[in-house]
Amino acid sequence: MFITDLRKQFYNLITGKRILLLVHFDVDGICASKILQSLFRTDHILYTVVPIQTRTDLINAFQQHAEQVKHIVLINCGGCIDLVDLLQPSDDLVFFVADNHRPLDICNIYNAEQIRIMTKLGDEEEVPAFDDVFREDESEEESDEEGGKRPRFDEEALEKRRERRHWEQQRHKIIFDYTQFSYYGSSTATLMFDLAWKLSKDSNELLWWAIVGETEQLISEQTEPDKYLLVTATLQNHVSRLNHKAQDEQPLDCLRITFEKELQLALYRHWSLVESMRHSLYSATTLRLWTLKGEKRLHELLAEMGLPLAQCKQKYCGMDVSLRNELQSLLESKAEKYGLNNILFASFSISQGFRSKFSALDYVYATSALLENTDKEKTATDAFLDVTDSLTISKLTVLEKGIENSKQQLEAIYRQVQTFLDMNQVISAGPFLYATVIEGTPDARFFAAPHCLSLLARFTLKAHVAVSRSKKSRSLPLIITTPDVRSSESNICLVCGIPPTSEESPRNFFGKAFEQAADKTGSKAELEFFDTNIIRLSVDDRSKFFDALISLLS
């Protein structure tokens, strides 16, 4: 069942109860959970937060913690799985689901008793009608068929059966159409911020988390730019409402959020300009920086902007103040000539007292890198807590560590993309392109994580399209595989599929395709992730799995 009035249909119901919060491993989810936690704290609602990465985690966490709890909140997980079927909960248990994964499972949608799916008003999805997918007489009919031994030949029954067969075919088609593509709904963090606002419990810190959640969706291409702009407008309203006081009216160390144009460059405030341009997906693929020619174009661009190379190669904070102040407008004026039209986008930044400024983009890069830390000493859940900490405004050191991690990650991605292109390792399989990170690559430890892998995939695809001579490559999706060096088992790889660059919306058919290919070939595959376009697969089954995919998609 969908609920849109979160205050009445969710918050008021759970006040005074104990809550189990199951939070998916993604920045948006953690932001949402942090907002929710701070709401709960103001009302003394006891809760337990358990990080969830895979389906198995979900089942385990449910079995371990659900015994005493009657209200479970799922954040960015579980919406696309039939929860009642998977977890077999007792009848008095209620799930509140805030999941940005789509499509939502039909059984969840039509379960009015135990499943409450939280969505924004006006965000309703096109869901198959109830009558098209469920039939009241289903069970009756079946038992009839099994029980009735003598065959019925009368007209009525035949008609009924024909009609039923037709309905079933129809149902199959409808469900297939519905589940064919996986995509993302709006950010859960903004949904939770909305609730906080309606409860009059919003603050700058909560707003910042909502902004980070939303920005993460933009960066990982889970939301279309148009939709992002709409949400940004709403967020901007909140920003001006909460930051309307003039600077000198407030204490110096208060938190300020500003809405402003921002360069689409990764971490440039904490790096050097040249490094940042090289490692940012947008500027690197547009200028083709991995080629000699691209390098020249970059230097040309900097020269035209009047930026001395020495200044661009040193740390940004060491650049002349005058250059820093003009950087945006300089880049903007030259953008068209170099095809960098979208280098500026609407974003937010945060500052507190005399600390340096951080943009929402910085936060997203740093937190995502923390979440997929390559430090062997840290478990996944340690990383989850690091992200939770880094989002707390007062814990700056964790964030700074994240920024350093992110630089390493981006450098590894860049190196890998260069290798792919230099060695011509992006290969067309007909209906899709594929690339494989070779076993034993030292950087593989970075890629054996969902977020980083899909970033690598997107980088690779855009870079490939940018250099490829064939027009067709624009309309081809990409599959990338990498050895899963983080897993304890050997001989396992991660497979990630992303839609073609020509596709405007982030709709992705690989989830369904992977499922079918795995079914068909009986491959040893684990469809464990909530982002269904990423799976774990046994290396031995890879070739037959790919063959099946090719025949399925061509």
């Binding site: 104990r18 936690q37 709960f40 704290r41 003394h44 609602i45 006891l46 809760y47 337990t48 937060v49 358990v50 990080p51 371990q64 913690h65 015994e67 005493q68 478990t379 859940t381 340690d382 989850f384 807590l385 939770t388 900490d389």
Partner: protein
């Protein structure tokens, strides 16, 4: 030099840090006691001679007596400071000491500890007009009745008021009543986050 062994005991105690307690050094204590017996016997002999009229021995007697006093002081300080440490541990570790520490304390100390425990418990029960007051709680003025805590270790089931059970599993986050989880924070099982 006289009193050397006794000093070693004191140095041993001085070297060990907070949260540690060296093994009860029975050997050294016995050796100190032997030294004291020897000193005492010699003094006894010389004092008898002095009483008999031979005043030559007086300086020696005086010296040995000082050494006896010194040894006594070291031994008592050794015992006393150990007890003080065990007492402090009651407030830090709670009524059950970690096995590594229990292994290092001697039988009379064990008895002393359990009596101290009993006394403390009885006193705390008698406070607050019959309701009792846990003095080990709220050593810092609490700001909130509830706190957000993070679990640092797998601990298992933990009961918070009236049979409500929370499963404390590593790296899970909980919001719980301060009064219940405070001692787990002190024990390093939970971490107070804000």
């Amino acid at each position: 030099m006289l009193g050397e062994k006794a000093l070693e005991l004191i140095k041993e105690l001085d070297r060990s840090k907070d949260g540690q307690l060296p093994t009860f050094n029975e050997d050294s204590i016995r050796m100190v006691l032997e030294e004291m017996t020897t000193l005492f016997e010699q003094n006894q002999r010389d004092v008898n001679a002095t009483v008999a009229g031979d005043v030559r021995f007086f300086s020696g007697v005086h010296l040995r007596h000082a050494a006896l006093e010194r040894n006594k002081r070291c031994l008592l300080a050794y015992l006393y400071n150990r007890l003080e440490r065990i007492k402090a541990m009651r407030w830090e570790f709670g009524s059950i000491l970690p096995a590594e520490i229990r292994a290092n304390i001697c039988e009379p100390e064990v008895q002393w500890f359990s009596r101290y425990n009993k006394n403390l418990a009885a006193y705390m029960r008698s406070l607050g007009e019959g309701t009792g007051l846990d003095l080990t709680q709220d050593t810092k003025p609490p700001k909130n009745l509830y706190v957000e805590v993070r679990c640092l270790k797998d601990y298992g089931e933990f009961e918070i008021e009236e049979g409500d059970i929370v499963v404390l599993q590593k790296n899970t986050t909980h919001y719980l009543p301060m009064s219940h989880c405070q001692h787990l924070i002190r024990q390093g099982i939970l971490e107070h986050v804000e």
